[in-house]
């Protein structure tokens, strides 16, 4: 049988020195070794080792947070691919965007995936926040994770805004002109913030490069950092907030 021979192969692989040097534990067959499998993995260790079945149901979250994270992954991959053809400089930026649409193989698909994915991510962030809000997920003991979430909302919006300038077309230019003028109405710090953000008094070459660096490096790093805390806090704050009636059924069961 195919499965048994595959299992036998896996079993033989587990006996090798290389495997044992990477995974310093046996197969995850008991509750203890299953927990250890999560604890000892850098990418999984901040996730819970155990979740309630109820919190995996669609009605628990509608997977809105997970879908937002999945869109972030799509945007990271497509964004990195777009960077291979894009120069953040004034004569080239607009032409590179046009080339991505009309010349580069699959460029139109990747650019549109990035563009529409970004709009979808903003939409999903809002749906996620509305859902958490109406379920009362911002209440104790989850207040701090709500604050982290508001930070992630701002990072998402800044990512959207900085990405908006990069095609360097009329829409981009005037959107950033108008938007940064709104910033300059902020009391005391408005004018200096606008000057530092644009690297000048008008939307020009410096502004394009600054927005590019913010969009491709600074804001994604901030997002990854906050997402890490956000996921970790879910288990630290006692798991997902379920619907009241699901929660009641649960306590009736566990009651005695």
């Amino acid at each position: 049988m195919a499965t048994s021979s595959a299992e036998a192969l896996l079993e033989r692989l587990r006996e090798t020195k290389v495997w044992k040097s990477i995974f310093r534990r046996g197969p995850a067959r008991t509750n203890r070794t299953r927990s250890v499998a999560i604890f000892h993995n850098l990418f999984l260790h901040f996730l819970p080792v155990k979740v309630r079945e109820k919190s995996l149901r669609a009605r628990a979250t509608y997977y809105l947070g997970s879908l937002t994270f999945f869109l972030f992954l799509i945007l990271t991959v497509t964004g990195i691919l777009l960077m291979f053809y894009y120069h953040p400089a004034v004569p080239q930026a607009y032409q590179d965007m046009k080339d991505l649409r009309f010349v580069v193989s699959n460029g139109l698909f990747l650019r549109n995936l990035h563009r529409i994915g970004a709009q979808a991510m903003v939409l999903f962030v809002f749906m996620h926040m509305f859902h958490v809000f109406y379920r009362g997920g911002y209440r104790a003991p989850r207040q701090f994770n709500w604050v982290i979430g508001v930070g992630l909302l701002l990072v998402t919006l800044f990512l959207s805004y900085t990405g908006y300038l990069l095609p360097w077309d009329q829409l981009a230019y005037w959107a950033i002109t108008v938007g940064t003028n709104i910033i300059s109405f902020m009391p005391w710090l408005g004018r200096i913030t606008r000057f530092l953000l644009l690297g000048g008094r008008t939307v020009g070459e410096n502004a394009l490069l600054r927005f590019y660096v913010l969009h491709c490096v600074v804001l994604p790093l901030a997002a990854i950092f906050l997402v890490g805390i956000h996921f970790w806090r879910i288990q630290k704050d006692g798991g997902l907030k379920l619907r009241e009636d699901d929660e009641r059924k649960d306590s009736l069961h566990d009651g005695d």
Partner: protein
Amino acid sequence: MNNPMKPSDVPGKAEGTASPAMGRRDFLNEISAAALGITGLGSAVVSVNYISPNVLFEPPARFRVGIPDDYPVNSVSFLREQQIYIVRTAEGFTALSAVCTHLGCITEWRPDDNLIACPCHGSKFNRDGIKVAGPAPRPLPHLSVQLAPDGQLVVDKLNTVPANQVLRV
């Protein structure tokens, strides 16, 4: 749990001294914290300084706009490149910024309406820069306009002047 030698119990220190001498460990900790704080603050200041550009490759803010006879009396001329209006009345010359004071769009002169209009959010100004309609919070600023020795008009966009200041030629 019992630390045999707490930082405050340095040997040789008399018990019940009115002003206890600071322990060596505390002293070093505080010095290190202060050094780190000063370094962090310095790095922040230097970084903000760094991202503030000293040289801007932008169009010059002070430029020549031709001789007075280029502009007929009672005319408003839009200079696209410099984003200003040169207004000549019977009295003399004024220069207006063409950047809308609402959110920075470039306005245009509409001779039929005798108005300066913004395409973005509908602000309208008369030829003195006074707002007559729309969301703009301030009138269009008047810019310094002077006559250079070679007979050319010179506008300085960084130098705003009161609305009643007119260059008589």
